[in-house]
Every structure is written in structure tokens, then in C-alpha cells.
Amino acid sequence: MRSIPLLPAIVLLVIFLLGPVISSFYGSLTNASLSGTAAQGASFVGFDNYLTLLTDPDFPKSLLLTLVFLVASAILGQNILGLGLALLMRSSGRLIRALVGTFVVTAWVMPEIVAAFSAYAFFNDSGTLNGLLRAVGITGPNWLYGLPMIAIILANIWRGTAFSMLVYAAALHDVPEEIIEAAEVDGAQGWQRLVFITLPLIRRGISTNLMLTTLQTLAVFTLIFVMTGGGPGTNSATLPVLAYQQAFQFGDLGLGTAIATIMLLIGAAFSIFYIRLLKPEVD
């Protein structure tokens, strides 16, 4: 009786989250397509889609691009910049702190499509970045075609750093000041205090944040879709973009679903790791 209020939630979650997950596993074993004969009745093809992926050079390439994107933009970029900003803001003036808060957070709160356009304009061949470089006498490269990964990595750091900054600011806020002051009295240098005292004290915040930024970055689609469309060719097609391209641009739903299934498995692996990390909170 007491669990009845859980029912609406369970129904919604089963239909709209569990349903697609299950149909993803099944769909990846069929030759479903957007048009043609296979659009009417898809037939079971076993692991053909996965074999196709393994032999198709685009898929291993996309896996590698996704890994590069995750490490460079989330694990290194957003985390280190976010932590750095949170630390620097503690010893900076009020005005500059307010400005950082405003602009870094605005880039994050804005709707993703608008953030994507802003980043597109910034990195475009005739955009703001190359305009600035020209002003100091440098001919900038065509970022979106020549260096698409650099462009989307930087754009994602710009878009997502606020999250890490907020998490770290909250974590640093909880570090007792007496401990830091005691270390200062004992003659610990600034970096020593950071490495040996502050960072170990906020390690829970660090691991949670690494996990969440990784999961969020794994799911980034719109930013890349608008900036480069995954191109040129598949040179910036991370897994979500490749799944879209295969399913909706090349019409191979089965193959797109196989990529989606692999991404779900990667996400699930990360989630299980993360849930073990948070276990004490649920119990």
C-alpha cells in the first residue's frame, strides 16, 4: 500500500527509459532502416551490425575521438580550469569574482543550441578568434575544418567549466580554515598546502565531479552537431554524432542502434563505478 505513490514514476521510467534501452539491445540485432524494404519489416541479423562496426574504420576512429574528447575537454579541461577558478576566486577581488561568476555560468546556463551557435561563430574561419589573431598579425587556421577536435574541445570547456567551478567552490567552502592556517604557520608553501592538505580534503568532491563531467561530456551532441556536424567527413564524429549520422543521414537504423547500445554500455560501466562511489548515501 505504502509503495503505491511510486507507481506513476515506475510506469514512466519503464516505458520511456527502460523501453528504449531494451529496444536498443534488440534493434541492434536487426537490419532496420529508415526507408526501403527493411523499413517495413526489419529482420533479425544477429551480430552483423557489430561485425560491420568492427570492420568499418569509422567506428574505432570514433571511439578514439570520443576518448580524446572526454580526456581533453572534461577530465583535464573542465576539471582543472574549474578547480583553478574556484581556488583563484578565494583570493581575488569582489568585482572580478562577480564577473567570473556571471560569464562562466552564463555560458553553461544558456540553451545548448545558442551556446553552439556562439561557439560556431567564434571558431568560424571568418569568426571572432581569427579576427583577433589577424589583429596581431597571425593568420589563424580554419578551425572547424582543419582542427575540428581542438575547436569542439575548447568549446566544450567553455560550455561546461561552470559546473566544475560550482562543485569545487562548494567543496572548498567546506574545508575548515583552521587546518589551512595551521599548515601556513608550520611553514607549508602555497602549492604544498594545495597538494597535501586541500586536495585530499576535497577528494570526494573531485571524484564525484570527474564522474559527472565525464558522463555529461560523453552525451554531448548539439555542440558538435552545430559546430562541425561531426565532420569534415567523420573527423570530429564522437559516438553520439556517429550514431546520428549512421541512423538518420545514412538511413541505417540498425547500425546506429548498435552504436547507441555500445554507448549505453560505456555509460552503464561509468554509472556503476559512480554508484559504488556514492553507495554510503543511498544505504
Binding site: 514514476a9 528504449p20 534501452v21 576566486m89 568560424n124 542502434t257 543511498v282
Partner: protein
């Protein structure tokens, strides 16, 4: 701290300088948006408008370009937020108040759901929506958006509810009030700020979502602003940068205002951390 030792002062100069550079780097792409929106001859590069005009805004503020898509955005986001909040309050109540055997597996499932990469699911979701004839259905899209925001909403709602003291409810139980009555008459009124935070959090997420309506809604008259801006970019993007920027700003203002409202008045700025991004 009243200390102004040389090292502390130079530390302050260094951090202010570094932060100022970061501010400029983060502000430039946003500044382009603002400057281009008031410049009738905007390009992709940031430049000061020769003449500031609101012509771009008046050009896009027509029913088919802005009003209908914005109304669609409102229907999708408000519908999603209402459903999510109601379902999450219902689910959070037994989770917060009773020790049931289902609590643990349910909460693990919910936590797992918050981690699902939704963009990875859009291909199978599309197939599922085709199979159930829900493609191009506003209601179907609302329910899907609600389901994807539900795990995080239940988690937040349970945390807010855990903060409401149980003593008042115990009095109501003694008086013979039912569970639903206790929830709606006592708990919900006490956690209004929490409800507002969750509602706004879900609303912002749905308002900004591009990929879900892009895949599930096909007719232009049903598509929200996120998708119509993208189509606008495809059709006129190469010429009308100013109008694109103006439309983008009009579309962004509601979520920016809601965010400021939450962080100023509800103290929930950091509560929002966790899901605004797709």
C-alpha cells in the same frame, strides 16, 4: 583576514589578472551574440555595430518565426515540468518517510537513470516512437522529456523532503489523516521552495533541449524554438547572422532569468548543478 603581507598582495594581483583573462575569453563568444543582435550588418566576427538598431528583433518577432516556436517551447517545458514535479513528489514521499524493501533497489535504479547518456538513446527512442505511432506527438515528447528528467528530480525532491520535520505529520496521522492528505496538506506546503527549485530545474532543462524535439517532432508548427532556430540557421544562417543572434537572445532570456531567480531567491544555484546540460 586583515593581513596584507607582500606575498598575499602579489597573490591577489596574480589571481585577479588570471581571472580577468578568463573572463575575457568566456565573454567573447557571448559578446558576439549581443553585438550581432543589434547590428543589421552583423558578420560572424565580433565588431562594434556602425549603428545600433533593434531591427533584427522586430524582424524575427513574427508569429511563424518566433511566437509559435516559443509557445511550443513553453508547452513542452511547462508540461514536462508539471508532470515531473507531481510524479517526483509522489515518489519521494514514501522513499523519504517509510523504510520499505523497495527503497534501495528503486533509489539505485534512479541513480542509474541519472547517469544514462540520453543522447545515446535517441536512435532506439526514435524506433520505439515510430513503432507506437508517437512520432510528431507533442504529448509523447512531453512524457519522454519528463521520464528523462525524473531520476534527477526524484533525487532532489527526496533530499528536500528529508529536510521537512516529520513531527507535524505524526500529529496528522494520529488524527487519522490519510497518506495523500498528509502529503498534500502538510508536506507540500512546507517544501514550496524545494518544489520551485525542482520545477525550474526541469523547466530549464526541457526549454534548452534541442536533440529530443529535433528527433521526435517533425512538423514545423509543433517544433519548439530550439529546433526552429536551427532550421532558421540552415535557411538564412549564412546571411542573417544578426537575426539569428536576436532570436537566440529572445529564446535564452527566459532560462537566464529563471536561473537568476533560483540562485538569488531560492539559494538553489548549486542545486541546479547536475543536469542543466543535456
Amino acid at each position: 583576514m586583515g593581513m596584507t603581507s607582500p606575498s598575499l598582495r602579489s597573490m591577489k594581483v596574480v589571481s585577479n589578472t588570471v581571472l580577468a583573462l578568463v573572463v575575457v575569453a568566456f565573454a567573447l563568444p557571448l559578446a558576439w551574440l549581443v553585438l550581432a543582435s543589434v547590428d543589421t550588418r552583423a558578420t560572424l566576427s565580433i565588431k562594434w555595430p556602425e549603428k545600433i538598431s533593434l531591427q533584427n528583433f522586430t524582424a524575427v518577432l513574427t508569429p511563424e518565426t518566433a511566437f509559435v516556436p516559443l509557445l511550443n517551447s513553453l508547452v513542452l517545458s511547462a508540461g514536462c515540468a508539471i508532470i515531473t514535479v507531481v510524479v517526483a513528489v509522489l515518489a519521494a514521499y514514501p522513499l523519504s518517510r517509510y523504510r520499505m524493501r523497495i527503497n534501495k533497489p528503486f533509489l539505485y535504479g534512479v541513480l542509474f537513470g541519472t547517469c544514462l547518456p540520453i543522447t545515446a538513446m535517441m536512435v532506439p527512442v526514435y524506433s520505439l516512437f515510430v513503432a507506437f505511432n508517437l512520432i510528431d506527438s507533442t504529448a509523447g515528447t512531453i512524457f519522454f522529456l519528463a521520464a528523462t528528467s525524473l531520476p534527477m528530480a526524484i533525487y532532489m525532491m527526496k533530499n528536500f523532503m528529508d529536510g521537512v520535520p516529520i513531527s507535524l505529520e505524526e500529529a496528522a496521522w494520529v488524527d487519522g489523516a490519510s497518506m495523500m492528505k498528509t502529503l498534500t496538506r502538510i508536506v507540500v506546503p512546507l517544501m514550496r521552495p524545494g518544489l520551485a527549485v525542482v520545477f525550474i530545474f526541469v523547466f530549464i532543462g526541457a526549454w534548452g533541449n534541442f536533440f529530443v524535439p529535433f528527433i521526435l517532432l517533425l512538423s514545423p508548427d509543433k517544433q519548439p524554438a530550439a529546433v526552429s532556430i536551427y532550421s532558421f540557421f540552415g535557411q538564412y544562417g549564412t546571411i542573417a547572422y544578426g537575426q539569428l543572434a536576436a532570436f537566440s537572445i529572445i529564446y535564452s532570456v527566459p532560462v537566464l532569468s529563471l536561473y537568476i531567480f533560483v540562485s538569488r531567491f531560492l539559494g538553489g544555484g548549486s542545486a541546479l548543478a547536475g543536469g542543466v546540460k543535456g
